[in-house]
């Protein structure tokens, strides 16, 4: 059995690695401190992109197109939103609550 202190250490190490793991995952966008990361994400057609809000403030993920292609509800802390991109294109989006927050998904 792993001593409690060491398990805590492992958990802490995992936590510390989490941002790296998030950034590396394909089709994943992290919302941290009022910004989308990565701000520009390139994926293949058919990729399911998932946004996860790590802030204490709610955010949304809303297509910036004149006719929005996708639109999430307000995401509270740790809530996620996913959209499957089935067509090639450049998809700009923003947070409709904090519209200075903007991002792009490039589907190739």
């Amino acid at each position: 059995m792993v001593p409690r202190r060491r398990r805590a250490g492992v958990a802490l190490a995992l936590l510390l690695c989490a941002p790296l793991a998030r950034a590396a995952a394909p089709g994943a966008v992290a919302i941290d401190n009022f910004s989308f990361g990565p701000a520009s994400l390139t994926v293949a057609v058919g990729t399911r992109v998932t946004w996860t809000n790590h802030d204490d403030d709610p955010h949304t993920v809303v297509s910036a197109a004149a006719t929005p292609v996708f639109k999430s509800a307000a995401l509270d802390t740790d809530e996620t939103y996913a959209f499957v991109f089935t067509e090639k294109g450049i998809y700009k989006y923003f947070c409709s609550i904090h519209p200075r927050m903007q991002g792009t998904v490039i589907v190739e």
């Binding site: 204490d56 509800a73 307000a74 609550i97 904090h98 200075r100």
Partner: protein
């Protein structure tokens, strides 16, 4: 730069003074020459209504439902804010709530807010914050806290010799933008103010700041300038905003802009590395960074008198 320098330094460009005010951001208020409230700190020279003058209170950013660091109970701090109102030497004529009544626009958050606010037994006028309009373009908010007969959510009324204008700048926000009023509302404002005497004191209240406090964090309103152009001819204009959870002040001609403290959690000063989210201050500092504001119409004065009342030392 200290307060004295800001108020009196000869030769200091006005623009620089205003810039300094924007960046002060510590809850210390500034004394500025040119027709603005003189001293705004409680215990200082602040003018508080004590008998017969028209006074009212601004509260803001209750964020009912927010229960994370630094405030596990936003209901309790709202209740405390109402208790502070109850302790004012002169009972206010009414209350303005400048938005973000709730954190997530949830029905139970609106209900709790309404129940708590009702206990003050004071006429209360609301404008929504962006947190109040997360569902159905704010329909749940306007159903509970909207003004009858208002289309679009904006409205005006007269009380105590003051013309009050409530504006909505948290809907239809555009990518890359700030707060937004929109053409219909600005046209309504122009018509609403037309024909009013320039000597009528005007109080405009909206959630997001009507001046560019810090656009990088979205702290401003894209089309505020056009709205404000209709206010320039008035001798006394006071603009009360919330959204940034701290007291900041700016003056332009006869227009004085004031942002208010929250009753729930503070936010950091513009540009601070901690960012614009809830500022996780130590528990023993929280109450000193929350508060209410009492506003009094002082006979013979062009500007209204403001007193900031924190919820704790």
């Amino acid at each position: 730069m200290d307060q004295g320098n800001a108020g009196s330094a000869p030769g200091t460009a006005r623009r620089q003074v205003l810039k300094c005010m924007v960046w002060a951001g510590t809850g210390v208020l500034w004394t500025v020459s040119g027709g603005v409230p003189r001293s705004l700190r409680l215990g200082g020279e602040a003018f508080a209504a004590t008998g017969g003058d028209f006074n009212f209170v601004q509260i803001s950013d209750s964020h009912l439902g927010f229960n994370k660091d630094p405030n596990p109970d936003s209901s309790a701090t709202l209740q405390q804010a109402l208790a502070e109102i109850g302790r004012l030497p002169q009972r206010p004529a009414m209350v303005l709530h400048t938005g973000d009544v709730t954190h997530l626009s949830k029905p139970e958050q609106f209900d709790t807010a309404a129940q708590i606010l009702k206990t003050a037994n004071l006429d209360t006028h609301f404008v929504p914050g962006e947190h109040d309009v997360l569902v159905d373009d704010g329909k749940p908010f306007f159903e509970r806290f909207g003004t009858a007969g208002s289309t679009g959510g904006w409205y005006s009324f007269d009380q105590g010799g003051v013309h009050f204008v409530g504006l909505v700048n948290v809907l239809n926000l555009r990518p890359g933008g700030l707060g937004y009023l929109g053409t219909p509302q600005i046209e309504w404002l122009e018509a609403d103010l037309k024909g009013r005497s320039a000597s009528t004191p005007i109080v405009v209240f909206s959630h997001m700041p009507m001046w560019s406090v810090y656009p990088e964090w979205g702290w401003g309103t894209d089309d505020a300038a056009q709205a404000l152009s209709y206010l320039k001819r008035f001798g006394s204009v006071t603009v009360l905003n919330g959204h940034i959870h701290q007291v900041l002040q700016k003056v332009e001609g006869n227009v004085a802009f004031h942002t208010a403290r929250s009753t729930s959690f503070p936010q950091a000063t513009p540009g601070d590395p901690v960012g614009p989210g809830p500022w996780k201050v130590p528990a023993d500092r929280l109450k000193s960074m929350l508060g209410i504001r009492e506003i009094t119409l002082v006979p013979g004065k062009d500007s209204l008198a403001l007193v900031e009342q924190p919820l704790g030392a």
